[in-house]
């Protein structure tokens, strides 16, 4: 009888520490996600400044600038960090914005007067710096999510995760437009 009680107590202790470890891993992943959000916020704050500088030179790119403004507002919407689908949508929205800004920066190259403006150069440097920080934050997020998902998906972790309501989180994945192979024949004609 005593042995049984000891075994049960040991099992309960193991289950508790496993649960605590899982919660810790989820919190690490959430912390990493907030690291991304901090950088996304910094990037979002830069966008109006960049668009204002570019506006008087890039009148023909009005549609692109309006797209960027709309995507910026969409990416800044609050979301439930514990809902994997909401996180996935949030990251996808941020990536769409990044793709549009990338397109915008390429178009800036067609306007030499704008390209050589000191304030535009400074804005681009600051933007690049934020992108580097964002890239680092994404890598950390993916690393934390790997650890969490391994704990949640491998038996018996999946049992404890199910009871505790801990779900796998989505990885940051590059958008489809980025991973498509480049068709050199198409480009070179």
């Amino acid at each position: 009888m005593e042995i049984l009680l000891i075994l049960l107590a040991a099992l309960a202790a193991v289950a508790y520490f496993w649960y605590a470890s899982m919660i810790g891993k989820r919190n690490n992943a959430l912390s990493a996600l907030s690291g991304i959000d901090i950088q996304l916020q910094k990037r979002s704050e830069l966008i109006p400044n960049i668009l204002t500088i570019a506006k008087k030179f890039m009148e023909h790119e009005r549609a692109l600038m309006e797209d960027i403004t709309a995507l910026r507002e969409s990416a800044a919407q609050p979301y439930n960090a514990k809902d994997p689908h909401a996180v996935k949508d949030h990251l996808a929205s941020a990536e769409q914005l990044q793709a549009k800004i990338g397109e915008f920066m390429v178009r800036v190259e067609n306007y030499p007067e704008l390209k050589s403006q000191d304030n535009m150069l400074q804005a681009q440097r600051t933007y690049n710096e934020v992108e580097e920080q964002l890239s680092a934050a994404r890598r950390f997020y993916n690393s934390s999510v790997t650890v969490l998902n391994n704990a949640v998906q491998i038996f018996p972790g999946n049992v404890i995760a199910g009871m505790a309501g801990v779900r796998p989180m989505p990885f940051y994945e590059a958008p489809a437009t980025v991973v498509e192979p480049v068709n050199a024949a198409e480009i070179l004609g």
């Binding site: 990493a32 690291g35 690049n128 580097e132 920080q133 890239s135 680092a136 934050a137 890598r139 950390f140 690393s143």
Partner: protein, 338 residues
């Protein structure tokens, strides 16, 4: 000083004497503009140093002759001590012989130090007027303790400290040896913990925290050598992960500094130094590289060679070029995100 060199010196053979200024070698001429720099800053010293070299050899010969004359008496005294004191006598005899030989070698050491204090700075000024060279620096390894790369040591030796800048990157080089003195029943034993170069670079990326890149010392070794409050950082490059252990107080900043391309470049750097172990630390807005190497860097030419300084110039120029490669390989001079 080899036995052969000492024997020749004893016989009054001072070797080849500088009779005319030889042309620079192809290796040296490959450095653009060095010919003009040499003619302006180094060539004027040649004859003065050749004279000093001849005087040094003469003093060394005199001392060798005195030592040779004293040697029979030293040996007899040693034998007597051996019969009286036993093995201590042999030890005292050996000590006497080494002391005598060192006394004979001292003038050569002084000559080589003079080359390092006058010629080496003149060579280094080819890279920029701001370059400094200190043969015996007052540097202390404790200054680098915040990097978490310095082991606990009992003794330290430093030499050949160089400061300057290359392509806008400030560079500070010190050749160092850190020694642990271990005591056991048999007495004291000196163990070299580290011999090689410490190189400090300025970094154009600003960062607040610290990130340490150490050699992977196995599962158990890593547990015991983990720097206090720093967290383990797991990175994506499998080869990098198997070679190094990374610790940081900021997971995101560590990845900001250690981009995937930077990790690849750090691995490539090991090849430049022929597989010698490299460790690094980003702290206090600096990058410290710790390169373990048995090679004696920045060695001056022998007193037995004519004072042309060709060997010294080749040594300094090629060794600095190797160290500058670090800046190129790690792209420390470019604002591209490392």
């Amino acid at each position: 000083m080899s036995f052969h060199a000492a024997y020749r010196l004893l016989l009054g053979d001072y070797g080849e004497r500088l009779s005319r200024i030889p042309p620079l070698s192809q290796e040296i001429r490959a450095f653009t503009g060095f010919q003009e720099h040499y003619q302006q800053h180094i060539e004027p010293h040649l004859w003065k140093f050749e004279q000093q070299r001849q005087e040094t050899l003469s003093i060394m010969r005199q001392r060798l002759v005195r030592f040779a004359m004293a040697l029979p008496f030293l040996l007899i005294g040693g034998l007597v001590l051996f019969f009286v004191l036993g093995q201590i006598g042999i030890f005292l005899l050996c000590l006497g012989i080494f002391a005598g030989l060192y006394y004979c070698y001292l003038p050569a050491q002084h000559y080589q130090r003079t080359i390092k204090s006058i010629i080496f700075p003149a060579i280094l000024r080819y890279f920029g007027e701001h370059y400094t060279f200190t043969e015996r620096p007052s540097f202390r390894a404790e200054e680098l303790r915040p990097s978490y790369l310095i082991p606990h040591f009992d003794e330290e030796k430093h030499e050949d400290e160089i400061t300057g800048a290359y392509k806008g990157v400030a560079i500070h080089i010190i050749e160092s040896e850190l020694i642990d003195v271990r005591r056991n029943d048999k007495g004291k034993r000196r163990v070299t913990l580290f011999k090689g170069l410490f190189i400090l670079f300025s970094v154009h990326k600003s960062f607040q925290g610290m990130t340490v890149i150490r050699r992977d010392s196995g599962r158990l070794g890593n547990i015991f050598s983990k720097p206090g409050h720093l967290e383990r950082v797991r990175l994506e490059d499998p080869q990098f992960e198997s070679t190094f252990e990374v610790y940081s107080n900021d997971q995101i900043e560590a990845r900001y500094l250690l981009t995937t391309s930077f990790m690849g470049r750090l691995l490539k750097l090991e090849q430049v130094f022929h597989g010698n172990s490299i460790e690094a630390s980003f702290y206090d807005n600096k990058l410290l590289l710790k390169i373990a190497t048995r090679k004696d860097w920045f060695r001056s030419s022998s007193v037995f060679s004519p004072a042309t300084f060709h060997t010294d110039m080749e040594t300094v120029l090629t060794e600095m070029q190797t160290l500058f490669q670090i800046i190129g390989i790690l792209k420390l001079d470019q604002d591209i995100g490392m």
